[in-house]
Amino acid sequence: MHEQQTATAEVPEVKNPVESLLRMDRMPHIWCPGCGIGTTVNCFARALEQSKVDLDKTAIVSGIGCTGRVAGYLNLDSFHTTHGRAIPFATGLKLANPDLKIVVYSGDGDLFAIGGNHFIHAARRNVDMTVICVNNLIYGMTGGQVAPTTPVTAKGTTYPYGSYDPPFNLPFLADSSGAVYVARWTVYHVHHVTKAIKEAILHRGFSFVEIISPCPTLYSRRNRLGDGLDQMKFYQENSEIRHGANTKDVDIDFQKKIIVGKFVERERKTYRQLMNEHLTSVFGEQYTKYEG
């Protein structure tokens, strides 16, 4: 994917309430006015503070794209990896040091097009990590191409007459692949987003939070949906909270109702638990556990 220029500027005077979690020497960020990614970062930072996890033992891994830039702005051990490969990188990180709290933070194109295979396998294994997907229904960084999440009939530059390419229903994909925690909110629901991220981080196993977010520059403009604020109004008016909804029923159609809520919360043994228990049963004391 094509990377755009990063601007540098003076550190702003106004204190951000989550400043301690941000790399202020990298501000201003690259995101457009009205973009929802910054809002999700704010929610994430608050969720981290509330969850009381050891920040020195928390690593964030991103892929490539607009949301892929999140890792670079957070004052944590942070990795900006290759396109689609944040999850397998995070898998290596987690297995090599099980004491770490791992968060993968990336976009819908990165996680579900080029990286889709890794998502389903990490969910199947139940690798202990939280995947946060900022879903803006489009490729932002490269200029507004259709993603595997773009609703049918919505326009992108690669489907200029409207998309006929059926999209994924991300909560259903996560649920059926084995994720132990699945929630969806929009950036309008900042408190819910914060709470969901906190719960996901504290829930052992592969947890998934989808955050629907506006892309005013590309998705909204090409589809004549107004600006960021218009999208927020749309989320406010068209979101329906339905906790525990069957994930089969939460497809996103173009400019129709968005079902949000906590859909899945269950317990499964993690990959590492399964590995340790099984190899201990085979080898007994001979089994040499991997030291963190």
Binding site: L93, N97, Y290
Partner: protein, 387 residues
Amino acid sequence: MKAEKNAVLTGAHFIDGDHAACEGAIAAGCKFVAGYPITPSTEVIERIALRFPLVGGVFIQMEDEIASSIAIQGAVWAGKKAMTVTSGPGFSLMMEHIGYAAITETPCVFINVQRSGPSTGLPTLPAQADMMQARWGSHGDYEVIAIVPNSPQECFDLTIRAFNLAEEYRVPVLVMMDECVGHMTEKVVIPEADQIDIVERKFTKKPPGEYKMFETNESMVPEMIKVGDGYRMHLTGLTHDERGYPAMSPKVQQKMLRRLVDKILLNEEKIRHIEEDEVEGADIVVISYGITSRVVLPAIKKAREDGLKVGHIRLLTVWPFPEAYIRDLAKRVSAFVVPELNLGQIVHEVERCAAGHAVTRLVPHAGGAVHEPVDIYDAIKGVLEHA
């Protein structure tokens, strides 16, 4: 630093090259392997999977080679030594992450047990046709180290060397085996652990705040850290400055890239690993590597019996190419004969370095078997006649 005692299978073994490479990795301190099955390399990960539970390592069979080649890099930044293992088609899939390891200076080892290509090719039969891919396969400019064993014993020894070089230069090191070497069974002597030298990762002693991710001194190789130690590091595959922050300018690119390349090229003589046989006074020098270096022996013997002055150079490290060495030698010999299991790869390097001072003759082979020694013999005999 010496190898870990309980991890090293000291003794004489009768094992194949794939198994020997596995033991080399374990002896070198490898604790994380991610892999995907592919002929003819699979035996390496199978043995890793058998051995790791007893030596404190983790093996994970990933969903593909792309995942394997980036999972190992996650493990490296968590503080472990890590490798992945593959063959041609998988090696092609790993190319992007060789580039990621190069730009992020992530020390890691890739084993490629070469088979014939392109594409699926001859999965169970040998080739040496990924040698240029090893050097150039990922996009952009970068340098790697590639080493080439010719026996199971060397699969053990050189895999240890691969891990050591990876740590010393913070670079991906590629062990370029081939199907013959991988599947041939021979005696492999594994020494006592305290006889095996291991290069440990150079972690910084600087505290967070003083440490910069890519700050270097004369060594050109920055010190490392690992996740979870409070450094709040940032690593990116974007062009980055000393802090590791993205910096989109030609100036930063020049500085970063120059160092990535120079840290290998300027140390080529130190990294160089060559075996010479009767090179002094030779008219004709055969240059070979990997399995081919064994096939050339009867041809060289016969040519010498005919009265020809034939020397032999075996490249155990192919990248960085021993450019200065070949340039110098080209002025003292008449011809180079380069047999390889491809239609011409390393011969281009030899020819470039010979720069017209010596005739350079390829002995090609499309792969699927090794050369007939007579073809190499004919090339040696004919190289000066047709010059």
